[in-house]
């Protein structure tokens, strides 16, 4: 079947009442999560996981995908109306979006963001539909050395995105290390369980994710819990002149966002930064930027939504996430007994195509929800964080103990939560820990298989072309950012 026929099949699954409801719930929750401070899409997906045990994997992943791209738009509201980006990918939006709001054009900023997000989300989904299957087909030829290097690339790329590459790498290795707790998957011997039988199944992905993204985030954010004063929303639809200024920025942002999103771990934040810089470069009058230029909202907003769709390409096609949130979604797929990777398009085609189809529906839902309801969502901003974080902690503890009816898990979550708090406090990225835990068994298995195949020689990773290229990219991902920093520092000193 071609992609169009597959997509039609996907639509037939996605429009069942339950899946439509899950899609709607996902985008609505995403909107709310994006607006509320102190909880991001990664934490929200982790907290929802216990609620989806009995649900079908298709419905659950449709909801999580909706939550992911819905949160991108929710973050825009806080950027525009109170100058506080709800998500890191909305930082650039706040520069011109907030200025527009102070000029009484906050509604237009939100309107163009909704329209730009819809266009970018739709084109991004088309890109996902066209690019992921051939990439998956190519990856079907991968053997253990290629898979091993692919996982290494995913870990190093995600580690390299944050502020410090070394901290990111250390976090990734800590995740790999935690992934060795339990039974050795190759020889069936228990290890690193320290005499505690409840650790024989390993460190649970849900416990670690809820702890790092839920408890850690709350402890890091609870210090300041005052509500911010918000500006009026006003007219939402852009006029002819504003539309004329914005549409090219939307198209450019879509292309930039999708391409950057596809790169492992580059994600929506970098996409929005690049889009803003490009818009400023191509503008006839760059001095308008920072003073309420509509292109400064349209470009980055289109870009971060297209990147969300792009980030799903490596997740579905290769089993390597393109962002922190897709790392959590990858763990969810494994929890449902699925094996993310190239086989997904053959063994779980119904699920993959239903999720892709649901993204068209979800983007449309977001558009029709956002244009008339922007003012209503803005009211959520008046909710003080003091009222939000205690229930989040209650949900964290309930979700974790319900997973295995085990109070010990709650103590483990508390311990990891403290680590998550310190990591957040001192800018150690948490996503690589989760990714290391999720991909650790695959990495260890494929590395041990590769070394067995090569009679213990590490040359197998450089003598096979695809593995060698992946290894080279992984090395570049680690070495290039510090090299650029060093060059910048030397130039600044000169």
């Amino acid at each position: 079947m071609g992609p169009l026929a597959d997509l039609m099949q996907g639509f037939m699954t996605a429009v069942t009442p339950m899946n439509l409801l899950m899609c709607f719930a996902g985008v609505l929750l995403g909107q709310i999560i994006g607006v509320l401070p102190g909880i991001g899409p990664s934490a929200a997906i982790a907290l929802l996981l216990p609620l989806t045990y009995g649900a079908s994997p298709t419905g659950a992943i449709i909801m999580f995908a909706g939550l992911y791209y819905g949160a991108q738009y929710g973050g825009t509201l806080t950027s525009v109306l109170i100058n506080v980006p709800g998500e890191s990918s909305s930082v650039m939006t706040s520069i011109d979006g907030y200025r527009m709001a102070t000029q009484g054009r906050g509604g237009v900023a939100l309107g163009i963001a909704a329209i730009g997000s819809f266009i970018a989300g739709t084109f991004g989904t088309i890109g996902l539909m066209l690019l992921a299957p051939p990439l998956a087909l190519m990856a079907l030829a991968f053997g253990p050395p290629e898979y091993c290097m692919l996982v290494l690339l995913g870990l190093t790329a995600l580690a390299a995105v944050g502020g410090s590459v070394i901290k990111g790498l250390a976090a990734g290795v800590a995740g790999l290390l935690l992934g060795t707790v339990g039974i050795d998957p190759q020889v069936g011997v228990p290890r690193f369980y320290f005499g505690q039988s409840w650790l024989l199944d390993g460190v649970d992905f849900i416990i670690l994710t809820v702890a790092l993204f839920g408890v850690g985030e709350v402890l890091a954010s609870c210090r300041s819990s005052a509500a911010e004063p918000i500006l009026n929303v006003g007219r939402v639809l852009p006029n002819r002149e504003e539309w004329g200024q914005a549409w090219k920025a939307i198209l450019r942002g879509t292309g930039i966002g999708f391409l950057i999103g596809v790169l492992p771990a580059a994600g929506a934040t970098i996409a929005s930064f690049v889009s803003y810089i490009v818009e400023k470069k191509v503008a006839k009058d760059p001095s308008r930027f920072g003073r309420g230029a509509i292109e400064g909202v349209a470009g980055p907003e289109a870009s971060n939504n297209a990147a969300s769709a792009g980030a799903m390409v490596p997740m579905f096609a290769l089993g390597v996430p393109g962002s922190g949130t897709t790392a959590v979604m990858l763990g969810a797929l494994i929890m449902f007994g699925l094996r993310p990777g190239p086989e997904m398009f053959t063994t779980n085609a119904t699920l993959v195509w239903a999720v892709i189809a649901s993204m068209y529906i979800g983007n449309f839902l977001l558009l029709i929800m956002n244009l008339p309801l922007a003012g209503l969502f803005a009211r959520l901003l008046q909710l003080r964080y003091s009222w939000i974080y205690p229930p989040i902690l209650a949900i964290c503890v309930t979700g974790v103990i319900s997973h295995a009816n085990n109070v010990e898990d709650a103590w483990l979550m508390l311990g990891f939560g403290v680590i998550g708090w310190l990591m957040k406090r001192y800018d150690w990225p948490a996503a690589p820990v989760v990714l290391g835990l999720v991909l650790g068994p695959l990495f260890e298995n494929t590395l041990r298989q590769s070394l067995t195949l090569s009679h213990g020689s590490g040359m197998i990773f450089v003598s096979r072309p695809i593995a060698a290229v992946l290894l080279l990219i992984a090395l570049l991902a680690v070495l290039v950012p510090p090299a650029i920093d060093m060059i910048r520092q030397r130039r600044a000193l000169a």
């Binding site: 800590a174 890091a220 319900s402 590395l447």
Partner: protein, 149 residues
């Protein structure tokens, strides 16, 4: 508050080093290599060594860094953490309902200084909704105390 090095970050680094050392020490007592194939202890040993090395590099960077560390007050997060721990500790002796209700109420009224009536309402509603979703709808066995919930 400003200092040369953030003490909390050193604590975090010490935790990672301790974790790495524990893994190296344990893995070194496991089979590492047999014939052509790595065994159970091989990867954990290397993970431990790598974690220690990377964390040491972070600590060195902290000491040679030029910017002074900024430490935000930790009183409130520690109070929230202690209340959260008390809530977990109360799960088995008191039961899920009373433990969560008291944890929420303490956070709203004593930590956040919010009004008592809305705090009571939100605490009861949150506990009830969680109990209904997990116990009644999803049939999850939550810890039950003397009050029966």
């Amino acid at each position: 508050m400003q200092g040369r090095i953030a003490i909390g970050e050193l604590v975090l680094a010490a935790f990672f080093v301790a974790l790495g050392l524990l893994w190296v020490w344990t893995a070194a007592r496991m089979p590492l290599w047999q014939g052509f194939a790595p065994q159970s202890g091989f990867m954990p040993l290397w993970y431990g060594i790598t974690l220690i090395g990377l964390t040491a590099a972070v600590v060195v960077n902290l000491f040679i860094g030029k910017e002074p560390a900024r430490e935000e007050p930790i009183g409130k997060p520690l109070l929230v953490l202690a209340t959260f721990a008390a809530g977990i500790a109360g799960l088995e002796p008191m039961g899920f309902g009373p433990a969560m209700f008291l944890m929420l109420l303490f956070m709203f009224v004593f930590i956040e200084r919010l009004s008592i009536v809305p705090s009571l309402l939100v605490s009861v509603a949150t506990t009830a909704v969680l109990f209904l979703i997990f116990r009644t709808w999803l049939k999850v066995t939550l810890p039950i105390g003397p009050l029966g919930f």
